[in-house]
Structure formats: structure tokens, C-alpha cells
Symmetry: C2
């Protein structure tokens, strides 16, 4: 890839997403229709559109063999709707029989962003983990851990950090620079720990050799590629990592949903009133400038942020298609489309907030074994 | 320091060691006479000749406060007499009341020398640890650990590796290069783990804040300097490390005693016959080429390897001075000096080997808590 090439923003709402271009740029494999996965909206609606080596996980599911879904969270900034995509995948794979490993990247937050471990712990416990639970993550077959404190079992902790240290022999500075750009010792340690996060479930102290699937945003593929390369150099080599790639839920104004810009995101604790205000005020619209023009030319649902949200929140395919066609034909006005999205999201969040309220510290502790 | 300057070889037997030059080059502080330490031959005979911040340890000894002596072993190659110096210091500080921490640098051996963890474990258990025990190290107030497996207590293991990861934020690549020359990710991880080795005794999961003394060869000072710098940048800062600096026991032919050259070292398992052969055949002599010349001009004990060994093995100061003067005057011939050294070392090693034989795996296990 040359530097001159257009930077890929898989969350950019600026015309239909060119999946083929993303797939070409990153060298990943397009995800074919997987009948067993179609019940999950993220697969059915192509939020997840590419993979590496997914057959290994499909075989495990088919043969009822052990497999792991590994993911992480960066505990900087609050949980927002954009984070739902990975949480939905946790729940999906857990139901399929996967053991779920979730790393709280507090070492990375310290080394790359200067955030204290205490602050990271607070954010993970207050914002991220309760939302995962409210979205359906179960404590059985699930392990949430902090990078700074892998386990209460010393065999596991020793094995995890040992792996981080041993991996270092099998990588060069230049490989790190290719992924991280300018690096520092802190970023390098974080990168190695991230690689250990992905690989350690296969150690004998954890699950033993088994497929590990790491679902990521498409922009994260360089990290996966590096981990895959290192994993085959160390003796004995690991079973090659499986990965899937998703686009992102766009922010309200288009672009990335960012925890550092409140006008870009919807929080799971927003009230219906706040959702109404945010969507009416900020949500990028695919409508025409005037009512007359809109009726004549129709709206563009492909760039309309409210419609993108409905792709996640309206589960009925027929109804979604209906909305798409009515907006495109000009029958549905932008205000009307926004109202449908506001209602859908509000309804979902009212239920979600009820579940959030019922979660106690004791519930959370079940996930931190 | 400029590159053109003469490289310091503190084990080089080529005239009297220029302590002042070593002290100037490394910027360490000359060690003044410490009455309580004079009973230890290494201090009395200036094998240990410089320090940084030793007052902190002297205060701890005086006030019977907790302090730690921290050291490590590189488990590549066999234990030889040159390794005795650090072992003698373990025993000395342990008797003074220090808790002794000993790191087996198996991660460093893997990352910097490509040696497997299994091989490192074997070498540490077969060669190094039994010799420490035979030299008088007690299991009480002593903890020997492997870098790849810090503790059976998960709180301790997590704290140790967490420290390694957090330290990374407080150091730059250039600082590493200044100490290690060309670096690799593996060397960098090892360097950070070495720094964690020196600092972690002060963590609350270990001894809590207390002075830690790290006795090293003078050539190791750059590592100490780096650890001292990093230790003051992290919040909260550590109590500044204390260090002492020793010259080395020379190899038989002069130069460094090296485990990779059997004609350079005496092994603690050598028989009296082997010692006799090695010293007679290889030991660099300060004698004159002919008997006549020797009687006339006298020998040079300052460059004579057998005499250097006697500085360690002849405990009687009067007797040592006597030998020195008799050799210098020409009264004592090289063969006679060698015989004195052979007898002294043989006598010591016969006792040492008896102790070695009596050490069981169960004894060793007491040190690996």
C-alpha cells in the first residue's frame, strides 16, 4: 500500500460503502453467505463483510468443538452505540458455544494514552461491562480480564506475560513500525501484549489448542496480520487466528462515532428526549434541500445516518426494505424517517436502561474470574 | 565518553588496576572504608571498590530496617569460580539481614541468546543454585525466581509483569540504544524485565518501599543508570537503587573468566589434579623468564593470576602480604606461588564439593518459593 492512496474510512457515510475496494485494499476474503449466521443482523446486513480463515470456526461449530472468541476494549471514553457491534458479536458467538475472552486494554491506555490504571478500571466497570451484560452477555463461558492483572491463578498470569515476553524474539522493529507508525517502547509493549491477548487462549494453561476468532473493524487488520505472522514463527506455532471484519456504525454527523465528541454519538443512557434532540439536530440526512425537490428526486438512504441506525435497530427485513424504498422514492420525508429511527432507538434503549439498572456489582464480579 | 577511549576491561590483568580511572569513566563513587564490611574479603581487598548511594543500605543495617539485595544469573554456560564473587555477596548481605532476590534471566537468555526456557531452567538448577547453597546461601530470607514464572502467588506475578509493562512508558528507544547498542524487540523486553527485576522488590506486593542494593560488575553500570533514571520518572517514584561495583576474578590466561572457554576458568567441580594441571599449564604468570632473572628482579604479583586467586582464597591478610612480598623480592618462584594457589583452591574446593554432594532437590526447592 502506498501512502498516496486514499485512506479508508469504513465509517464514512459518503455513498454506498465499496466493500470490494475495502477487501482489495486489506487483502481479506469476502464473507460468503453462512446460513447459520444469517440470523445475526450484523452478518445478514453485511456490517460484517470479510474474514480470514473463518472455515476453522465454522468447522468447530459444526462439530461442536471448543473455540474462543477474543476481543478487547479500550477503556477511554464512554460506551456508545458504536460499541454495540462488538458486544452483539460477543453475545452471538457465546450462544454458538464459544468461550468469550475480553481484555480490558488498561496497559495500552497507560502506555499509549497516559491514562492511569485506576481510571481505566473505573471506566470498564462503570460503562463497558454493564452494557455488555445488558446486551445479553452471560457470565458462563466468559472471562473479562485486565491486561495489568491477567488472572487470580498464578499459572495463568505467568503463562500470559511469559508469552508476551517470548513473542518479542519473533518480531522486528520495522514490522511494528509498519503497523503502528512511529513507535515508542510503550507502544511496542502494548502491541506485544495485544498479540498475547489474541494468542494466549490457545496455551495449555487456558483452553489449549483451539480456533480463536477475533472480530475487528476493518481498519484493525494490520494488527491481525502482525499477530498471525508472529504466531507461526514461535515454536510450537499456534493454530492460525481467525478474524472477521466489520464496518462501523457511523456517528451522527457521518464520520466515526467518537466518545470524545458528544454530538457524534448516542449513549445507551440517553433519554428518548435526548435521542430526539440529537437525531433531529445532528443526524446527517440523505434528503433533498426542499420538500418539493425531495418529493421529486427522492432521498438517499445509503448516506442517511438515521437509516444506517435503522439497519441495526429495525430487525424486520421487509419493514427495513419498505422504509428504504419509500425514502428513496420521496414518499418518506427526512423528518419522518428520523422519527422512525428515534422511536426504534428509544424503544430499544428504554428496555436496555431497565436491564442496566438491575445489574449489581455482584453480577459484574461473575465475569471477572 | 568518546568511542576512541580505551575500553575498560576490569578483569584485565595488565598492571595494577587503575581504580581511579574506572571510577572517573563510569562516574561512580569510590567506596570508603566501611568498618562493618571489612570482614568481607571482597570489600577488604577492594574487589568491590565503588558504589552509588550505599549510605541508604548502611543506614538500614544500622537501624535494623528491612533492605533487599537483588541480583540475577544468566543461565548460559556453567558456573565457575568467577561467579563466586556475586555468590559471596549474597551470603554476606543475607547475614547482614537483607532479603535476597535472585532472578534467573531465562527470558533474557531466550530473547538475546536464543536459549530455550527448559535449557535455562536445567542450567540454573544443576549448576548455579547448588553452588550458591554450597557457598552458604540460606533458604530463609531468600527468593530465587525465573523471569518466565515470577511467583506461585498471582498477586506477585501480576505486579511484577505489570511493572515491566508500565516502565515502558517512561523510557525512550535512544536510551536503550545507549546501553545495549543495536537493539531488537526481544532485547528491549529483556531490558525492561531486568529493570523490573531491580525495582519490583519495593512494590507493595513484595517488600514495600525499602532500599534495594544491586551489586554488579563495573561494566554493568549503564544498566543500573538506566534503571535509576526510569525509577524516578514513574509515579510514585521508587526509592533510588543502591549499587556496588566489583572488578572480576581474572581468567586463567588473564582476561575474562569465560564459561565458553574451559582453559579460562576453574570449575567448582574440578579435582585437585585438574586444578593443578590448569594452573600450571595456563595461569598467566608475573614471573621473570629465567630463574636467575627472577631471583634478581623479582616477580610481579599484581599481574600474576595465581596471586589474584590467592587474594580471594587466602583469608589471612598477613600471610597474603607475606606471599606478595616474597614473590616481589624474587624469593618465591612462580612454580612455588602456583603451588600455594593450587593447594589453597584445592582445599577450598574439596570442602565445597562435599557440600555440593549433600544438596538434594528438596533443599533446592526451599529457595524456589
Amino acid at each position: 500500500m502506498t501512502k498516496e492512496k486514499q485512506v479508508i474510512n469504513p465509517w464514512e457515510v459518503s455513498g454506498k460503502i465499496d466493500y470490494n475496494k475495502l477487501i482489495r485494499e486489506f487483502g481479506v476474503t469476502p464473507l460468503k453467505n453462512i446460513p447459520e449466521f444469517e440470523k445475526e443482523i450484523l452478518f445478514r446486513r453485511r456490517f460484517i463483510f470479510a474474514h480470514r480463515d473463518i472455515q476453522r470456526v465454522l468447522d468447530a461449530v459444526k462439530n461442536k468443538k471448543k473455540f474462543v472468541m477474543m476481543t478487547g476494549l479500550m477503556p477511554t471514553g464512554k460506551f456508545h452505540l458504536g460499541h454495540m457491534l462488538v458486544a452483539m458479536q460477543m453475545v452471538f458467538y457465546q450462544k454458538l458455544g464459544a468461550k468469550i475472552y475480553i481484555a480490558v486494554a488498561d496497559i495500552e491506555a497507560y502506555n499509549a494514552r497516559g491514562q492511569s490504571l485506576e481510571e481505566s478500571r473505573k471506566i470498564a466497570l462503570e460503562y463497558y461491562i454493564p452494557n455488555y451484560i445488558a446486551l445479553g452477555l452471560k457470565p458462563e463461558n466468559c472471562e473479562i480480564y485486565f491486561q495489568s492483572e491477567r488472572s487470580k491463578d498464578s499459572k495463568k498470569s505467568n503463562a500470559y506475560y511469559r508469552l508476551q515476553n517470548l513473542l518479542a524474539r519473533h518480531v522486528t522493529f520495522n514490522e511494528f513500525k509498519a503497523v503502528y507508525g512511529e513507535i515508542s517502547p510503550g507502544k511496542m509493549l502494548s502491541g506485544l501484549l495485544q498479540t498475547a491477548d489474541m494468542l494466549h487462549p490457545q496455551l495449555k494453561e487456558f483452553e489449549g489448542p483451539c480456533p480463536v476468532i477475533v472480530p475487528v473493524g476493518i481498519d484493525q487488520d494490520p494488527h491481525l496480520r502482525l499477530a498471525r505472522d508472529i504466531s507461526q514463527r514461535i515454536k510450537p506455532p499456534f493454530i492460525q487466528l481467525v478474524s472477521t471484519y466489520n464496518i462501523f456504525l457511523p456517528g451522527l454527523k457521518g464520520g466515526k462515532m467518537s466518545a470524545s465528541d458528544p454530538t457524534s454519538y448516542i449513549s445507551p443512557t440517553d433519554s428518548p428526549k435526548e435521542i430526539q434532540n440529537k437525531i433531529n439536530k445532528y443526524a446527517f440526512s440523505g434528503g433533498q434541500p426542499t420538500l418539493e425537490e425531495h418529493r421529486k428526486k427522492g432521498g438517499n438512504p445509503d448516506v442517511d445516518v438515521s437509516f444506517q441506525y435503522l439497519r441495526l435497530f429495525e430487525e424486520d427485513d421487509k419493514e427495513l426494505e419498505n422504509i428504504y424504498n419509500r425514502y428513496k422514492s420521496g414518499e418518506l420525508l427526512t423528518g419522518e424517517l428520523k422519527k422512525i429511527a428515534i422511536d426504534k432507538i428509544s424503544k430499544f434503549l428504554i428496555e436496555h436502561q431497565k436491564r442496566l439498572k438491575s445489574i449489581s456489582q455482584k453480577d459484574i464480579d461473575k465475569y471477572l474470574k
